[in-house]
Symmetry: D2
Subunit: 437 residues, 4 copies
Amino acid sequence: MAEKVFRDPVHDFITVEDDLLLALIDTPEFQRLRRIRQLGASYGTYHGAEHSRFSHAIGVLHVMQRVLKRFRDLGLTPEPVDRLAALAAALLHDLGHGPFSHLWEHTCCAHLSHEAWTRRIILDGTGVNRVLRRHDPALPERVLAVLDGTHPVRYLSSLVSGQLDVDRMDYLLRDALYTGATYGRFDLERLIYTMAVAGEQVVVSRKGLANVEEYLLARYFMYWQVYFHKTTRAQEVLFRRLLERVRDLTLDRGPEAAPVPPALRPFLAGAPGLGDLLAVDDVDVLHAVKIWTAAADQVLRDLAGRFLNRRLLKPVFADPVDDAPPDAVEAVRELVGRRGWDARYYFAIDRASDVAYDYYVRHPDGAAGGAVKGAGRKAPVPILIVEKDGLMREVSEVSPLIRALAAGPRTGLNLFVPEDCRDEARSLLVSGGAATC
Amino acid sequence: MAEKVFRDPVHDFITVEDDLLLALIDTPEFQRLRRIRQLGASYGTYHGAEHSRFSHAIGVLHVMQRVLKRFRDLGLTPEPVDRLAALAAALLHDLGHGPFSHLWEHTCCAHLSHEAWTRRIILDGTGVNRVLRRHDPALPERVLAVLDGTHPVRYLSSLVSGQLDVDRMDYLLRDALYTGATYGRFDLERLIYTMAVAGEQVVVSRKGLANVEEYLLARYFMYWQVYFHKTTRAQEVLFRRLLERVRDLTLDRGPEAAPVPPALRPFLAGAPGLGDLLAVDDVDVLHAVKIWTAAADQVLRDLAGRFLNRRLLKPVFADPVDDAPPDAVEAVRELVGRRGWDARYYFAIDRASDVAYDYYVRHPDGAAGGAVKGAGRKAPVPILIVEKDGLMREVSEVSPLIRALAAGPRTGLNLFVPEDCRDEARSLLVSGGAATC
Amino acid sequence: MAEKVFRDPVHDFITVEDDLLLALIDTPEFQRLRRIRQLGASYGTYHGAEHSRFSHAIGVLHVMQRVLKRFRDLGLTPEPVDRLAALAAALLHDLGHGPFSHLWEHTCCAHLSHEAWTRRIILDGTGVNRVLRRHDPALPERVLAVLDGTHPVRYLSSLVSGQLDVDRMDYLLRDALYTGATYGRFDLERLIYTMAVAGEQVVVSRKGLANVEEYLLARYFMYWQVYFHKTTRAQEVLFRRLLERVRDLTLDRGPEAAPVPPALRPFLAGAPGLGDLLAVDDVDVLHAVKIWTAAADQVLRDLAGRFLNRRLLKPVFADPVDDAPPDAVEAVRELVGRRGWDARYYFAIDRASDVAYDYYVRHPDGAAGGAVKGAGRKAPVPILIVEKDGLMREVSEVSPLIRALAAGPRTGLNLFVPEDCRDEARSLLVSGGAATC
Amino acid sequence: MAEKVFRDPVHDFITVEDDLLLALIDTPEFQRLRRIRQLGASYGTYHGAEHSRFSHAIGVLHVMQRVLKRFRDLGLTPEPVDRLAALAAALLHDLGHGPFSHLWEHTCCAHLSHEAWTRRIILDGTGVNRVLRRHDPALPERVLAVLDGTHPVRYLSSLVSGQLDVDRMDYLLRDALYTGATYGRFDLERLIYTMAVAGEQVVVSRKGLANVEEYLLARYFMYWQVYFHKTTRAQEVLFRRLLERVRDLTLDRGPEAAPVPPALRPFLAGAPGLGDLLAVDDVDVLHAVKIWTAAADQVLRDLAGRFLNRRLLKPVFADPVDDAPPDAVEAVRELVGRRGWDARYYFAIDRASDVAYDYYVRHPDGAAGGAVKGAGRKAPVPILIVEKDGLMREVSEVSPLIRALAAGPRTGLNLFVPEDCRDEARSLLVSGGAATC
C-alpha cells in the first residue's frame, strides 16, 4: 500500500491510499489541471485566487473520502469497486475543463461542455482511461455512471453532483480561503457528521439543519460577493471579446489577419478533437494574449493589453440593477460607438444568470430525478432533512431562512463600457428608468 | 484620497491609501508579477503553492505599512517623501525577477541578479519609473537608496533588507499558508509590536525575545522542510537541465536545433536588455516547455515531458547527507552514463547552499554594514535585542536557542539520478562512505 | 502614557492606553466580573464556555476602540471627554450583572435588571464612581448618558446599544470561540470597515451589506443553536427551581429551614442594596449549592445534587414545538405529580421568549427611538444601509435574506420533566396535539 | 452504542462512543473537575485562561483516541480491555487535583500529590471506581497500571506519561488557545501521523523530526512565556502566603483566629481523607478568600483583598536573574520587614524550578525506565526518532536544535515584595551583584 500525503491549505492533510488514485493523479491529463486556474480570471479581483483545478480536484477526492468514511462508521459500505468508482469520479470530474475553467465554456471556443469533454477523456484512449481499464475493464463506464447519475448505487452519484456534493463542499471552502473572503466558510466536519443515506438518497439529519443552512448561506454569499463580483465580470467580458475579435478577424480575413498559436487554432475554426482539448491550457491563452498585445489589428491589440494589464471595461452601475429598459440599453450601445469604440467588443450586457455558479433553488418535485449535469449547471437534486421518525422534508420546507433565500430573485444586470463612456451611460440609464435592485 | 482594499489570504485586509502606490500597482511592470510564481516549481511538491510575486509584493507593502504605523505610535515619523520611498521600495523590491523567481536566477539564462534588474526597472524609462518621477523627480533614486542600503534614514533600509525585514515577514507567512506547512507561522502582530528604532537601527525590545525566536525558528523550519524539500529540488534540477540542453543545442547546432520562442531567445544567446526581461514570465517558459515535449531532440523532448508531467529525477538519499566522497560521486555519474543517460542532463549534485533562502546566521561584526543585497542572499544585518536600560545585544548572545540554530551546520548534499539508477547509486555511495547528516 | 497589552483569545492583542480605563479595570467592581460566567450555566452544554464577563467587557472595550479608530480615519473625532465616556460605557456596561449573568435576572433573586444595577454602580460611591469622578466630576453622568441613549452625541449611544453594537459584536465572536460553535463567526474587521455615521446615526455603507447579513445570521444561528439549546435551558430551569425552593422554604418555615449563606440572604428576602449585589458572584451561588446537596429538605437536596452533577430535567420534545394545548400541558403537570415529584419544582414550561438574547427584528418606525435597554432586551435601533447617493434604508428592506429572518417566527416551546416521566409526557402531548414547529 | 459529541474550542469535534467513558464522565468525581481551573491563577495574567480541568481531561481523551486510531491504521490494535484502560487512564489522569490545580500542590494544604489522590479515587469506593468495576472487576487496577507505567502493554503507559504524551499534547494547545499565546501551537495531526510503536516504545519516524521539534519548542515557549510569567508567579506566591497565614493563625491561636469554612479545615490541620479531597474545589477556596477579606487579622485581610482584586506583590526583576547573592536577598528580606510588612508573608523567593511544568530534558539512560509520575513532574521517557532502517536515536542526538534547548539552563530566580519596597530592593540586589540571566 503506497500511502501518500498531500499538504493542503484548506484540508491540511490529505492522505491517499489507493494505488489506482495515485496512478490517476500521475497521468498527464490530470497533471494538466495544474495549468488551469480554478476561478478563471478572478485573480484580477482577488489577487490570492491563483489556485488551479488540480488543487480543487485533490480536495474533492479528500471530501469524498471523508464522507465515505463517515458512512462506513454508520454501517454503510459500498462494494470496493463502487467505492473506487466514486472516488475516481470525484477526482476526475473536472478533467474536461479548458483554459480558465468556466470562462472557456462561455466563449466562442467551447464546442462542448466540460462535462462532455470529461466523458470523452474517461472513455477514449487517454492515460486516464488506460489506468482505469488496467484496474478493471468496466471501471471507465462505472466512473462515468457515477458522474452521469446512472450508477446503480444512487447515493454515490448524489455525492458527486447534487445540491450537497463534494465538489461544492471543496470549492466553497477553497475559493473562500484563496480569495480571502470569509463568507464561504462553513463547518465541513460537522456537516459531514450529520449526513446519512436513507433509501438511496443522501440526507441530513435534523440536528444538522443549522449546518445545512450555514452551507447554503456560504453558497449564497460566495455567489453574490465573489462569483458575481463586478470586476471579475469585467475581466470575463474582456476575455470573451478578445476571443471573439480573433475569431471574427480570422473568419473574415483569413488566418493571416491575427497571429493564432497552433494550440488555439482548432478552437477558433473547425471541430477540435480530444487531443486538441488536452493540449490547451491557461498557458496557451496567456501566451497568445501576450502576442496579441503586438498585433497589427488595433482592436485586438488594445483588448489584449487591457486584459493583460487590467485596464478593464467599467460597470455602469455600482451595484447590478434588476433590469434596464431596452431603449436605454440601446442608447448606451450607440454612445459607445459614437465615442469611437467598436460596440461589438467594447460594450457588454452582463446578467447574473451568466455566472457559472449558482445557489440553492428549490425544485418542486426534484427529489425524483438523478443528477444530470449539463450546461455548466447541476440539476437540482434537493437537500432532504430527515427527522428522527424517518420523515423526510426538503430543506426549504423546514427552514424559513432557506425558503427566503431560495425564493429570492436571481436577477441582476450590468452594462460594461469603456471608462470614458461610463458617466454619460449612467445618466442615460437613470433617466431611462433602470430599476435598482 | 483613493483608498483601495485588497483582500488577502494572509493578512486578510490590506488597505492602500497613497495614490502613488496605487499607480505603481497599475503599471505593466508590476502587473507582470502576476505571471511569476513566488516559489518557482514548488507547486509540484506542495500543490497549493501556486501564488505569485504579485501577491507577495502586496503583502510586503502591507507589512511595511504596519511597521511604520507602529513606529508612528512610538513617536517616530519619517519625512513624507522618505516614508513613500520606503513603501515603494517594499512594493517594488522584486520587480526584477524572471520566470519562476529564484529558479530563473540559477539557470544559464540569468545574466543579472534580480536585484540588478530591479534597479534598472526603477531607473530606466519604464512605467514604474514614470510614475515615480511624476510624483517627485528624485524619487527613483530615493527608492533605490532604500533598496541599496544607502538611504540616509538607515532604519528604512533595514526594514527592506535586514534579518528582520518586511520581505521575509511576508514570504514566510505566505509560503506557510499556501504550502499548507504550518511551520512558517509566527505572531506578526506581536513581533511588530516589539520592534523599535534605536539610533538608526531597527531593534526588538527584550519583551519581544520569544517573538524573535519564534520568527527565526519559522525561517529555520521553512528552510529545511519547504525550501530544501527534495522533490522541489528535483524539479528545480530538471528546470536547469532543460534550459541547459536548449542552450547547448542551439549553441552547437544553431537556432534550428531546438524551437525557441522569441521571448526566450535573448536569454539563451547574447545580452538581454531590460525590455527582454520585462517581456518574459512563467507563461513563456511553460509555453516553450510544452512545445519542447514534441522537439526533435530526444533528450530535450524527454526532459520537457518530465518537467511538465512531474516524472522527476530521484534523490539518491532519503535525507540529505553531510558529504559524499568524490570517488563515489564520480562512480554514480558513470553509472548514469552506463545506463544510457547523458550525465550532463540526468545527473545532478545538489547542495543546501544552492537554496535561494537562508536562515539566521550570526555575523561577528555585521552590525556595522548596511543592507546590501547580492547573489540572491541578504547580507547579515543582525537582529539586536534592546534591554530596558538601552543595552543592545545581538540576538544569539541573548538566546541559547538562536545560538544553537545559528551555529548549526548548513551542509546537506544530495544526488539526483533517473529512477532506474537510484538503488545502485545508493549502494555505491553507502559503500563509498557517504556520511549521514 | 501607560500602555498595557491584554492577550485575548478572540481579538488576539488588545492595547489599552488611557490611564482612566486602566484604573477602571483595577477597581474591585470590575475585577468582580472575573467571577461571573458570561454564559451562565451553558458550560454544562458546551464545556469550553467557561469564560467570564471580565473577558467580554475587555473585548467590548476593544471593539469600541476599533470602531472609533475607524471613524477617526473617516474624519469623525468626538471630543476627548465624549470619547472617554463612550469607552468607559463599553467597558462598564455589564457591571451590574449578578451570579451567572442573565440566569440571575430570571430568578426570584433579581430585584433589578442588570442595567439598573450598573447605573447605581456608576453613580453611587463605588471605586468605579471615584475613578470616574477623579478624572472629571461630570464623567459618571456622561457615561450613564451613553448607556441610556441620552448622550448628545447620539451615535456613541448607538454603538453601545443598538442592533449593531460593540457588545453584540464581542459576545457573538467570544461565545462562538469558547463554545466551539463556528456559527457565530463573522468578519469583524470588514464590518467595522463599512460602518460610518450619517447625521447622528450609525450606518453601514452599501458595500457592507453582505457583512451585515453575515453578522445578523451569526446572531440567528447562535440564538437557535447555542442560547436556546435545550440542555442549557434544562440547566437554567434547574437553577431557577433551586432558588425558588430555597425561597419558599425560608418564607414558609423561617430561616432555619435551609442553610443560606449570608451573601445570598438579602436576595431571598428583603431589598438588597448595592453592597449586597457587589458582594455576590458565582462563587457564592456554587458554594451554597454545594452546601444544599446536604440539606435536610429532600427536594432542595435533590435539586442541588442535580444541578451540581448535571442530572438535569429532560425536555419532552427533541426539538421545540410551536405550541402545546393547555389541556395536554396540564396533563403532563399532573403526571409529574402522580409520579411523586413536586410539580412546582420538577415541571417547567420553557419558551423561546425567555431567552436573554435575541436576533434581528424589524421595527416599523424604530429609527426614531434612542437605545433604551430594559428587561434584558435591547430596543430595536434598526440597522441602516446607506447608498452612495446618501439614501438610507433599513436593512431588511434591502436584503431579502434579512427580511425572511426578521419575519420568521420566534416561537418555540418545550416542557421539562424528570427522566422517568419523559416518555409518557411525550405521548400525552402528541395525542394532545402539540404542533411541531 | 451511545455516541456523544462534544464541541471543543481546541479540537472542534470530540466524539465519544464507549458507554464506559460516557458513564465515567457523568460521575460526580469527574464533574467536579468543572470547578477546578486548569491553570490555577493564571487567569489573572491572561484573562482568557478560565478553562477547567474538565475541558482538558476531555481533550486528553480525544488525543488518546486519535493516537490509537492512527496506530490501528498502522496495524496495531491493543486488546479491547487494554484499549479501554488506556482511554480511561487518559480521561481520569487528573482526578486528584485540588483547587487551582498545581497551585494547591504547592501549598501547605497538599498532603499528597495529585497522582496519589488520583490513585485513591480509582481504587476506593467512589463513583468512578464503581463504574470501572461494573464494567470489569479488574479494570481499576488496569487503569492504574497504565498511569503507573506498570501496564504490560508498555506503549500505552508512555502515551499517558512520557515526553510525548497525550496530556501534554492537549494542554499545550489548550493553554495556548485560552491564554491567547500563539507559541504553544503545533501541528497535532501531523505529529500523530508520524508516531508509531517500535518494540514496546512509542517512537516518531524520521520524517516527523520537524514536528517533534515544533512540539518541543511549543513546550519551551509556553514554559518561559506563560507558565513562568512573573505576574502569574506573583499571584501564586500570594495564594501560598494566604493559606500559610491561615494555617499559622489557627495553629497558633486556635480555630477562632480565622474563619475557616468546613471544606478547608481538614487540609489546614490533620489528615484529610478522600472524601475531603473530593468535596473541595476552587469554589471553596474563593469563597473562603472572600470571607477573609473581612477577617479580624489584618495580614489575612490584606492578603485576601490583594488576591481577590489583583493587587499583587511585585517582582524585583523585570526578567528573572540567574542567581542572587544570599546576602543581598537577606537584605531585601530585612527591608520588607523594616517597611512594616511581615516578611513571612510579604516576601518570596521564586525559582523556575518551582514551576509545575517543564520542557524537554535529555536523560542519559532514560530509555530504560517506565513512566513513573511523582512530585508533579513526569519522568523523562525520552523521545525516540526511528530511521527507515530501524535505527533509533534519542531526539536531541538527531536535532541540534533540541540539543541546544535541552542543554540550556533552567535557572531563573525572582523576588517578590510589596510595591513600596521594589525600587530599593532592586538597588540592593544590583549593588549586591545579582547576575542577569
